[in-house]
C-alpha cells in the first residue's frame, strides 16, 4: 500500500501540487490530467526523483525516503522522455540496467529474453537501438520498467508513439502484470486506461479532483451528454455555442457529441447518450 500523505511540492514560488492525499493499493490506477497539472511531478515523487516540500509518501507505513535502496528495489519507472544509449541493442541496454537494479546476471538474462518476447521485440533484440522507430524504443522502455519484477510500477505516458496494435498489446501486458501489484499510469489517451484501470485519479488546479472508479466517474456525467445532427451550414455556430466533445462530418450534416448541464436550450433533435471516460475528461478540463 502506497500512501501519499498531505504532499505539497513547490518549486520556488510556483506550487506544482497542493495537499495531495492518495492511497494506492493493488491494481491499476489511471492518472488523468492535462499537461502541466502535476502528473509527472507526482510520479517523480513516488519514485524518489523529487522530494515533497511538505508531507510524506509511505510504503506499508514506512517513509519511502528513509527506505533507501530497499524501496528502489520495489519500483519500476518509465519516464516521459525515456532515454537510452543509441549504440546499444535492447539486450545490452537491459543487461546494463539489470545490473544497476541489482539483478543476478543469469536470472536477468532469462528475464530479459522473456520480456523482449512479451513486448514483441524478440527478433531485434541484438540490433542497435539507433535504428529503432519511436514505438520500438518505447517498448524497450516498458520492458526496462518491468525488469526488476517491481511491486510498484510507475509509467508516465507509456503509450506515446505506439500504434493501435501495440497499444492493445500494452493493455494486455499491464492487465496481466497488475494482478497483485500496484500500477500507476498517466496518459492523455483516455481509451488506454478506460479498459485497464480499476481506479481513476484526476488532478485539477494542482490538487486531487477525484479518485474513484471508472463507472462512478462516468455516472457523474449521467444525463449531461447528448448527440445530435445539425445541417452543415449551422455547424460552426453550433460549435461556438456548445461544449463540443466530438464532431463528425457526414453528407450534408454534421454530427455532434456535446455536454450540457440541464435541459435548458437543448436543440429538439438532441438525444441523451451514455457518457464515457473521454466525455468526462473533456468536460472536467474544459477551461484548461
Amino acid at each position: 500500500m502506497l500512501t501519499v500523505q498531505n504532499v505539497t511540492k513547490r518549486f520556488g514560488s510556483f506550487t506544482a501540487l497542493e495537499d495531495i492525499n492518495l492511497e494506492f493499493g493493488k491494481g491499476v490506477y489511471g492518472l488523468l490530467a492535462p499537461n502541466g497539472a502535476g502528473k509527472t511531478t507526482l510520479m517523480k515523487m513516488i519514485v524518489t526523483l523529487l522530494f515533497p516540500t511538505k508531507g510524506r509518501i509511505l510504503c506499508d507505513g514506512k517513509e519511502i525516503l528513509s527506505m533507501g535502496e530497499s524501496y528502489r528495489e520495489k519500483i519500476g519507472y518509465l519516464p516521459q522522455k525515456f532515454g537510452y544509449y543509441r549504440n546499444d541493442s535492447p539486450r545490452q541496454y537491459l543487461r546494463y540496467l539489470g545490473a544497476l537494479k541489482g539483478l543476478e546476471r543469469r536470472a536477468a538474462e532469462v528475464r530479459i529474453d522473456g520480456l523482449l518476447e512479451k513486448v514483441g521485440l524478440a527478433d531485434v533484440k541484438d540490433k542497435k537501438m539507433k535504428k529503432f522507430s519511436g514505438g520500438m524504443v518505447q517498448r524497450v522502455g516498458i520492458a526496462q520498467a518491468l525488469l526488476g519484477n517491481p511491486e510498484i510500477l510507475v509509467l508516465d505516458e507509456p503509450t506515446a508513439g505506439l500504434d493501435p496494435k501495440e497499444r492493445a498489446r500494452f493493455r494486455n501486458l499491464i492487465s496481466e502484470f497488475s494482478k497483485d501489484r500496484t500500477v500507476i499510469l498517466s496518459t492523455h489517451i483516455v481509451s488506454d486506461i478506460e479498459s485497464v484501470a480499476n481506479r481513476i485519479v484526476m488532478l485539477k488546479d494542482h490538487s486531487v479532483y477525484c479518485d474513484t472508479d471508472c463507472s462512478s466517474l462516468c455516472g457523474m456525467m449521467g444525463g449531461k451528454v447528448f448527440e445530435c445532427s445539425v445541417p452543415q451550414k449551422d455547424a460552426d455556430s453550433f460549435e461556438m455555442s456548445h461544449l463540443v466533445i466530438s464532431r463528425r462530418e457526414e453528407t450534408g450534416q454534421t454530427h455532434f457529441r456535446f455536454a450540457q448541464d440541464g435541459e435548458k436550450g437543448l436543440p429538439p433533435q438532441a438525444k441523451p447518450v451514455q457518457p464515457d471516460l473521454e466525455d468526462v475528461f473533456l468536460y472536467i478540463y474544459r477551461e484548461d
Binding site: 500523505q5 498531505n6 492525499n21 509511505l58 507505513g61 514506512k62 517513509e63 528513509s66
Partner: protein
C-alpha cells in the same frame, strides 16, 4: 519527560560515527514511552513489543532524515510510530486476527461515557480501536496521538504538519463520529 536537547548529541553521534552505544542509549530513553503508546492500541504484549521493535528500527534507519529545525525528536519518532501502527491495522495480519476475534465475540454490555472512559476498559477499547481504523491516515494519526500518547494539540499539529485549528476540528469531528457510531451499536 526527558528534555529534548539530551537527544541531540546522541543523534549526532549515531549519524556521524554509527555509534552503537549512542543508539542503545537513545532507544532506551524512549522505549517505555513508545511501548506504552503501542500497547494501548494493540492491547497485547507480544504484538506491542514486535511493533515497538519495528518502529525503533525504522527510527534508526531513517535518522539521517531527521531535521532538528522542523520538529523535536519525540514528535518525529511518534509520527513514525503512528504511521506504522496505522499500517498494521490495515495489514492482512490484523484482518485475520480480527476475524478470529469476531467469531468468538460475545455481545458486549452497552457503554456510556466519554471516549477515554471507554479506552480504560479492554473490551470497549477494542471497539474504539476498530472505529479509529476506519478513518483516513492523517485523521488516524491525529486520533492516535491524542488518545494514546501525552501529546497536546500543538505537538500533534507539528507532527502532521497542519495548522492547530484544523487538527482540533478534525479531532473533535472524528470523536463525535466514533461516539455516535458506538452508541448506535447498542
Amino acid at each position: 519527560m526527558q528534555p529534548h536537547n539530551e537527544d541531540l548529541p546522541l543523534i549526532r553521534r549515531i549519524r556521524i560515527w554509527n555509534d552503537r552505544s549512542a543508539a542503545e542509549k537513545l532507544v532506551e530513553r524512549h522505549y517505555r514511552e513508545i511501548y506504552a503508546y503501542t500497547y494501548r492500541q494493540t492491547l497485547e504484549k507480544q504484538l506491542a513489543m514486535d511493533l515497538t521493535q519495528e518502529i525503533f528500527i525504522s527510527v534508526l534507519q531513517s535518522i539521517g532524515n531527521y531535521e532538528e529545525k522542523k520538529a523535536s525528536f519525540r514528535t518525529w519518532m511518534y509520527r513514525i510510530a503512528s504511521c506504522r501502527i496505522a499500517d498494521y491495522f490495515r495489514s492482512s495480519a490484523y484482518r485475520s486476527r480480527k476475524m478470529a476475534a469476531e467469531l468468538s465475540d460475545e455481545s458486549l454490555p452497552p457503554q456510556d461515557g466519554s471516549l477515554s472512559a471507554r479506552l480504560e476498559e479492554r473490551d470497549s477499547a477494542n471497539q474504539v480501536l476498530k472505529e479509529i481504523g476506519t478513518f483516513d491516515s492523517t485523521t488516524q494519526q491525529i486520533l492516535r496521538l491524542k488518545l494514546f500518547s501525552e501529546a497536546r494539540f500543538p505537538q500533534i499539529a507539528q507532527a502532521v504538519e497542519m495548522p492547530e485549528s484544523t487538527v482540533k476540528s478534525r479531532y473533535y469531528a472524528a470523536v463525535k463520529k466514533i461516539q455516535s457510531r458506538l452508541e448506535g451499536k447498542v
